[in-house]
Assembly symmetry: C2
Homo-oligomer: 209 residues x 2
């Protein structure tokens, strides 16, 4: 070995989480959501992420109850689905991304919206009591909120952390202020992304860090 | 529509890249790498990423030449592979992640290393002149550098941006100082990740932004 580095995967996780806990002020995060915050910091390498984190008081209990009951997980991007560690899921929960569904391009064209938003409308009745993880497209998050506000299926919990410069911050502000009172987790501003969305789901999926 | 937001996917991309260019100081980035920097900023939502970006002067030309010639892309994580937009690849290039190869657990155990590092050793002779994208595991990047230093196959270019608190910054410093002179791109410090690795590959894959 030419370099000195830790080679035990479990030890790397333990040391990572310990470093994050020692450097991060988690006092503003609901107590049961601190493990979620730690894993999201781990996913982006930035302890100051916590200052932008907004967690609904029922987010953790609602998402965990739903996942234990077998709720499916709906994602806006294949990267998010790919980042969900299947072995952590409590009930072999299905993980769906419908972005490549063959109906999506025609729907997006007809409605004059993005493919990401069109794909959300295909989640259908299964969205009721499901867990949603949006890490990429602000339009998917906006479309989801519109769908719920219009009387569509209500998910049990929404992890809404699209990243970027156009609409991302606005869509996350809309989630935080959504009058429908669906438990949510979001990150104010431009930060977010697939890895962050998947890390939140992975932390919610199993209580053990 | 209950919210006001841009719904034209192409317009969102254009506006995003324009915002990034207007807010980001790209003067320290090699001219041919500025499109790469813009896409990486897009992936993380942070214009100050550029101050940590290190790009070898031959990175862009070496990676593009290799990709046009059909080079495979090797990734350390399925999320990275999932984030590579296949339609942008110039030669229908194969994208490999061997983390779930059945030989990996036994190799990792025998060598006393992580599964991510063990998977790198399975890249084999195809690694010669390939393009590498590491977005997750510092141990994979360390192992790759050791393998090259020991006379193993030399990739055409390395995008090495593992994220995190244990070994990530050190592995990226090792890449930046690697005496083997393989063209590379990295981000100093803790930031990085699968989305950033994939975004760099997507920018390298096609000249058109």
């Amino acid at each position: 070995r030419r370099y000195e580095y830790e080679t035990d995967g479990a030890a790397i996780y333990r040391a990572s989480f310990a470093t994050i806990r020692s450097e991060t002020d988690l006092s503003a995060v609901p107590e049961d959501a601190r493990v979620i915050a730690v894993r999201m910091v781990h996913a982006c390498g930035q302890t100051d992420l916590v200052r932008d984190l907004v967690v609904h008081p029922q987010l953790v209990s609602a998402a965990r109850t739903a996942l234990r009951a077998g709720a499916p997980i709906f994602t806006d991007a294949h990267m998010v689905a790919s980042g969900v560690t299947r072995a952590r899921l409590p009930a072999d929960n299905p993980v769906h991304c419908l972005l490549r569904d063959e109906r999506v391009p025609a729907l997006a064209h007809r409605w004059g919206t993005t493919r990401s938003a069109a794909a959300v409308s295909l989640w259908g009745a299964e969205l009721e009591d499901a867990v949603v993880a949006i890490g990429n497209a602000p339009t998917a998050l906006f479309h989801l909120l519109e769908l719920i506000a219009d009387g569509g299926p209500r998910p049990a919990a929404i992890v809404g952390v699209p990243v970027g410069f156009i609409g991302a911050a606005e869509s996350k502000a809309a989630l935080a202020e959504f009058p429908g009172d669906v438990p949510f987790l979001t990150v104010r501003g431009r930060r977010g992304g697939s890895a962050m969305a998947a890390s939140a789901i992975n932390a919610l999926a199993r209580e053990q860090e």
